[in-house]
Symmetry: C2
Subunit: 204 residues, 2 copies
C-alpha cells in the first residue's frame, strides 16, 4: 500500500487553466491536458462507454484504476465533478473528500462512496488507508490538495502525464511545494505520441 | 540549420535557484540542476579535463556540442560565466551576447568569440545564423533570454534535461511564455538515472 498522485500536466507545469468553474472544470485552454484521455478504451469503459484506443496510454490508466483502492480529493474537485460523475462515478472505490462542512456519506452505484472528512488531510489519509486494504491510496486533486500532501511528505509515488502543450496560465502543481527536495528517484518513463508519462518515487 | 534551446530544469520547472550572482551563478539550491553534468566525459573534455563517464548523458552533450555552430546568450549569463569560462571557453563557436552596452568583440582560444549585439534578439539571431553555417544556433540562456525567443516563436527545438529534484524557488523557464501553444511535438525521450531528456519540436 502506497500513496500516489497521478496528474496530467502541461510541459509548462499547469494542471488546470485559469477560470476553473463548475461549467469549466479544467479552466480555460486546458483541453490539451485532458482530451487525450477521452479516447482511451480504459477511460471510456469506466465512464460506461464502449470503444476507444487500446494503446499504452490506456494500459497505464487501467493500471491506475486497478492499483487504487481509495481516493482522497479536495472539496473543490468534488464540487466540480459531482454532476459530471453522475450516479455511477468512475472511481468504484471509497472517496474521501476534504471539507469544512460535514455532510452524510453518499453511496453511489458501482462501489463509489463519497465520505466527507472535516478533520484535515492526515485524518482523511488514515481513513483512506483503512479503506484501501492492500491497494493504493491516490490523492486525486485538485492541485492545492496534492500540493498539501506533497508538502507534508505524504506522497510515495508521483506520476505526471506531460502533454506536449503550453497552457501559459492557471494552476501550477509545483508552487511553494518545498525547496531542496532531492529524495526523488525516477521509476519509469513511458513515452507515447499523446504524453510522456513520468513516474517518480520519493525515497525519504 | 535550426534554432535550439537546451536547458537543465528541475521537475518543478526551475532553471536556476534564487540569488543568482557572479559567485553563485546557478542560484541557491541549484546544485541538482548542474552537478550531473560535471561528471560527463564530453563536458570534461570541453573544459580541458580528462576522465568522466562515457554514458548516454555524455553522448547527448557531445551531440549538442557537435550540432551547434553559434550560440546566443543574454548579458547576465555572459557576466556570470565570463570568469569561469576563462581564456578557452567551452563553446568553440561564435557567441552573440545580447546587451545594451556596445563593446568590442573578444576573440578567445579554441574558436570562441564573444560579439556584443545591441540591436535586439532578432538581429542577434540573424548574426548567429550567418555564423553557424549549416550547424544549429543555440539559445543558451539565461531563462529570460530563452523565454524571449520562445515568446517570439523563434525556437525550433527545445530540449529539457529534467533532473529528479524540486528546487522550490528561483527562475522558472516557463513564465508568461504564451498560452495555448499546441504546436509542440515530442521528438525524443532519453531516460537515464541522472535525468530525463525530453526533446520537443515546434511544428508551426
Amino acid at each position: 500500500m502506497i500513496v500516489t498522485a497521478d496528474l496530467a500536466i502541461s510541459l509548462d507545469g499547469y494542471v488546470a487553466g485559469p477560470g476553473v468553474a463548475p461549467d469549466n472544470p479544467g479552466g480555460d485552454g486546458a483541453e490539451p491536458l485532458f482530451e487525450w484521455i477521452h479516447g482511451l478504451a480504459s477511460w471510456r469503459e469506466r465512464q460506461g462507454m464502449t470503444g476507444g484506443e487500446e494503446n499504452r496510454d490506456s494500459e497505464l490508466m487501467r493500471e491506475w484504476f486497478d492499483a487504487t483502492g481509495a481516493v482522497v480529493m479536495g472539496r473543490t474537485m468534488y464540487d466540480l465533478g459531482e454532476e459530471f460523475w453522475g450516479d455511477n462515478p468512475p472511481f468504484r472505490t471509497p472517496v474521501l473528500v476534504l471539507t469544512h462542512r460535514p455532510r452524510p456519506t453518499l453511496v453511489k452505484e458501482g462501489g463509489t462512496t463519497f465520505t466527507f472528512v472535516t478533520d484535515g488531510i492526515h485524518d482523511a489519509l488514515d481513513r483512506a488507508r483503512d479503506a484501501a486494504g492492500t491497494r493504493n491510496v491516490d490523492i486525486a486533486g485538485g492541485a492545492s490538495t496534492v500540493r498539501q500532501y506533497l508538502r507534508e511528505g505524504l506522497v510515495d509515488e508521483l506520476q505526471l502525464h506531460v502533454v506536449p502543450a503550453l497552457i501559459g496560465a492557471g494552476l501550477r502543481l509545483f508552487d511553494d511545494v518545498g525547496a531542496g527536495r532531492r529524495d526523488l528517484e525516477p521509476v519509469r518513463v513511458v513515452d507515447t505520441p499523446l504524453a510522456t508519462h513520468l513516474k517518480y518515487r520519493f525515497t525519504k
